[in-house]
């Protein structure tokens, strides 16, 4: 009842605001018709070609550099939460989880969505994932705009494009002209310094670059306390801190274990038909609890329990028109990524090596890959009515991983390395897309991509879409698409003391059909879309039954017979979902007053044999959205912007793992952000930005620590109040007169 009421309200609000906006009729010379055209979004991600978002074969959000600055956006996850349609993030105080339309796979390293930076796929093959928080190391001042295309996108991009494809497009030198330095402080928590430049190096060559350094310490969270009780190995209370007492108490003030450090740099060089992108970053982080998806906790508040990712990539693109009909793009790329995890455990039961010194668990994974993509566009009649896109992408990759246990005091190795992966893979993909505009009011788009590897069966990902415009300023889109995610090497090849290596793991699949109605009213735009999706063969950890355990043990496939809690990755899960998306956005008073509203309501269910019945996926809200409004007073006065994000009540991670009589849920969350920005008159080029965030709920949808039968779940804390202030100095400007 409550759900249907909220669904109705969401739609009603959007419709009411839309009806309140007066349509602009005719050429009244007020500028509104021109402003409406200039407010069109031009996107390139949905079909790998420049087109208006109205014409794109997908529902997309375009977040502009101006919006990012206006609303104090500092990272990708903030941009998604405050500005995007249909996508939502969750923060477990470590790697950000991202979901869309009622589906989120907690702890998936972001491998169900594809992150592109200037068209370069960032997702790495070891975990299949990418970072979406500060760890993404995106230099936000250098971002021109971010395109978010919701729905399956494997037709052009291959693996991982299941939820959404996010393409971060950086500025040209002209838009980033001069030199820029900034310092942004989140009071008592973090500091970011950055320096960048946009330089025109001759008529055909421009260079943009930015170096960033971000450091976060805190806030201090109060965790637990939880009673871990007696350690069955030592026979006394569990030791939960390095050098701590055997009191069996885990938790307290976590003042040393919530930090992050991200140095990063990005360079983009464009010269004639060439474009080169180079990116490098490291991401070191620690969180006051171990893992959002498992009950195994290491030492509490240990600063040495951390993860470190290092990545670097390069991409060289050459585009040329061979004739007025044929365009050829060739792209060479290479990436390197490695990840280390350091984890100290002082509890005797977690370190059974004959002494009482703590164990340091150290896992290392790395991947390297390089490839070439060749793409050709045939604009058959040189007027874009019939365009064929064909492309092929081939990459060679290598992955290596291992896990070690060391004496935390002496660093001596306590056992031979385990979980060793040392493999190579060849992945090839070929795609074709046909766009046909038989009439001014109709655009048809159809295509398919086939991906094959020596590791899994070939996968075909089709998409058909039609855009129909039978009335003024209105468009109806109908889209059917499929996508897949290849199993990551971590899922396919890992083998530990509690994990049996997977058998013949295959790709996850999703099918989706959606319809969307877009109507413009002058400078206002309303989108209403409905969707239905089916997720199959989702990879999940399966806990072995007794019979399976016996079978694997007899076959010698269980590494350690000491542990009876054995699991294996399998294609066992599925999710069905449907719902709707609403967007309303626009501007008044020639761009001074801007507003936007995005809302999504979904009804998704996954069968769960362990829990005994179907339930909504963990962590992801079924109703969520954001709203924003800003006013530019100009004339030296501040620009004031207010953004809000809402997430409905949602089940916590681990809610359905059988440990709770009543699955724990996180309360509905409302986040507010007020941002004020503007120039500082005392020095030309100097500007400020200050923002304050407040989150109403103090708990997130993640269970922390151990689960004790009958005890309520302890949910991860939320950093409720944040305030930041930043100064930026821009030296050199463009030549135009500012009006």
């Amino acid at each position: 009842m409550r759900r249907s009421y909220r669904l109705s309200m969401l739609g009603a609000i959007a419709m009411a605001v839309a009806s309140a906006t007066r349509p602009a009729v005719g050429q009244d010379r007020s500028g509104s018709d021109l402003a409406a055209l200039l407010n069109e979004n031009v996107v390139t991600t949905a079909s790998k070609s420049a087109e208006t978002s109205t014409a794109a074969p997908g529902l997309s959000t375009s977040m502009t550099a101006e919006q990012l600055r206006r609303f104090g956006i500092r990272s990708l996850d903030e941009a998604i939460d405050f500005l995007s349609l249909g996508v939502v993030t969750a923060n477990p105080l470590r790697d950000i989880d991202v979901g869309a339309r009622g589906v989120m796979v907690t702890g998936d390293h972001g491998d169900h969505l594809l992150l592109l930076v200037n068209g370069h796929a960032v997702n790495e093959p070891l975990f299949g994932g990418a970072q979406f928080g500060r760890g993404a190391a995106i230099p936000m001042e250098m971002v021109d705009h971010i395109e978010v295309v919701i729905g399956p996108g494997s037709v052009l991009y291959g693996s991982s494009a299941m939820f959404v494809v996010i393409n971060v497009i950086t500025k040209r030198a002209q838009e980033f002209a001069g030199f820029h330095v900034l310092d942004e402080i989140e009071i008592g928590k973090s500091n970011r310094v950055a320096a960048g430049a946009g330089l025109q190096l001759g008529r055909n060559t421009d260079l943009t670059l930015q170096l960033d350094y971000y450091r976060q310490d805190g806030p201090v969270f109060s965790i637990g306390p939880q009673t871990f009780g007696v350690d069955p190995v030592s026979g006394v209370g569990t030791v939960t801190r390095r050098g701590g007492k055997p009191d069996g108490i885990w938790g307290g003030e976590a003042g040393s274990s919530y930090y992050a450090e991200v140095p990063a740099g990005h360079v983009r060089l464009s010269s004639g038909n060439f474009e080169v992108n180079l990116h490098a970053s490291t991401y070191k982080r620690a969180a006051p609890y171990s893992a959002a998806t498992s009950p195994y906790e290491g030492d509490f508040d240990a600063p040495d329990n951390y993860e470190l990712d290092r990545s670097a990539w390069g991409d060289v693109r050459y585009t040329t028109l061979l004739s007025p009909v044929v365009q050829l793009t060739t792209r060479l790329y290479g990436d390197t990524f490695d990840s280390q995890h350091f984890f100290t455990e002082s509890a005797a039961q977690s370190c059974v090596y004959g002494d009482r010194t703590p164990c340091l668990y150290h896992s290392l994974g790395m991947s390297r890959w390089a490839g070439v993509e060749v793409q050709s566009t045939f604009n058959w009649f040189a007027n874009s009515t019939l365009v064929t896109l064909v492309g092929a992408d081939g990459r060679y990759l290598g992955v290596r991983a291992k896990s070690d246990v060391q004496n935390a005091e002496t660093l001596a190795y306590r056992a031979s390395s385990s979980n060793i992966i040392d493999a190579t893979e060849v992945v090839v993909g070929a795609y074709v897309q046909q766009t046909w505009t038989p009439a001014e009011w109709l655009v048809l788009n159809g295509g398919a991509r086939i991906d094959a590897s020596n590791r899994y069966d070939a996968v075909v990902s089709p998409r058909v879409a039609s855009n129909v415009s039978l009335w003024p300023m209105g468009t109806f889109k109908l889209i059917y698409a499929e996508a897949f995610r290849a199993p990551s090497w971590n899922e396919a090849a890992s083998q530990t003391s509690t994990l049996v290596r997977a058998d013949d793991l295959q790709s996850e699949r999703v099918r989706s059909v959606e319809g969307a109605l877009e109507q413009k009213f002058g400078t206002h735009r309303l989108v209403f879309g409905v969707f239905r999706s089916w997720w199959r063969d989702l990879i999940e950890l399966h806990k072995l039954t007794n019979a399976e355990y016996a079978e694997f043990a007899a076959a010698g496939r269980i590494t350690s017979l000491r542990d009876f809690n054995q699991s294996q990755y399998r294609n066992i899960s599925s999710i069905d979902g449907y719902g709707y998306d609403v967007t309303l956005e626009g501007l008044f008073a020639p761009g001074r007053l801007r507003y936007g509203l995005n809302g999504t309501a979904a009804f998704t269910r996954e069968p769960d044999p362990v829990f005994g019945r179907s339930h909504a996926p963990e962590v992801t809200p079924q109703i969520f959205g954001n709203a924003r409004i800003s006013y530019d007073f100009s004339g030296g006065y501040p620009l004031v912007a207010l953004a809000a994000q809402y997430m409905d009540r949602r089940p916590a991670a681990r809610a359905f793992d059988g440990a709770f009589a009543v699955p724990p849920t996180a309360p509905a969350q409302l986040r507010l952000r007020l941002t004020v920005s503007g120039p500082i008159p005392i020095l030309s080029g100097l500007s400020y930005r200050a923002s304050a965030d407040y989150a109403v709920a103090d708990r997130a949808a993640y269970v922390i620590g151990r689960t004790v039968a009958g005890a309520p779940a302890d949910l991860a804390p939320v950093d409720q109040f944040r305030a930041s202030v930043g100064l930026q100095y821009d030296l050199l400007f463009r030549r135009e007169t500012s009006r």
């Binding site: 031009v42 365009q327 793009t329 040189a382």
Partner: protein
Amino acid sequence: MTHRVRFQQSTRGRRAVLLGAVATTLARRGSSQSVLVPIRLQAELIAKVVVYDRNFAARAGERTKVLILSKASDNESTLVATEMKSALSAVALIADLPHDEELFTYTDPQSLSELCKARGYAIIYLGPGFTPQIEGIREAMSNFDLLTVGGVAEYVPAGIVLGFDLVSGKPKLLVHLTQARKQHVDFRAEALKLMRIYE
């Protein structure tokens, strides 16, 4: 003289919708000399913005004549010119007037001047590839009553009256006011406040 001129009547009554703004520009981010705004969208913007030129109606007369320049042996220039002709043909009216579009392969400023004198164009559109010739074209057109439009943003600071750029995924209009005065283009304030202005 190797230039060629082709004439074609526009098709009246076609639906002027934005739906057709499909892939027409190179799908790269492009340097400053690339055409970044989809051609269909440029055509829509041209049709809208000339309404705000106080002198346009007098200049165009009963029928808007548009000349689209391309460069020989330049594939992108040829493609963009063809695309623009097709896109403008799909626009029902330009400033409430029927319109004709003609393609012209540019050779030199003098030939262009002679053609303009003979044909009385209201709008000249330049596709990519003209950067080295912009100065000559600007000087040649300074004595004409017409609107020069560049598909490449870089043309405007060099003296083309109106141009297009793409910033943050949104189209921008650029205008060179000094050159606009020379060519008797007089945009209303309602339009100018939406433009990036060069002088």
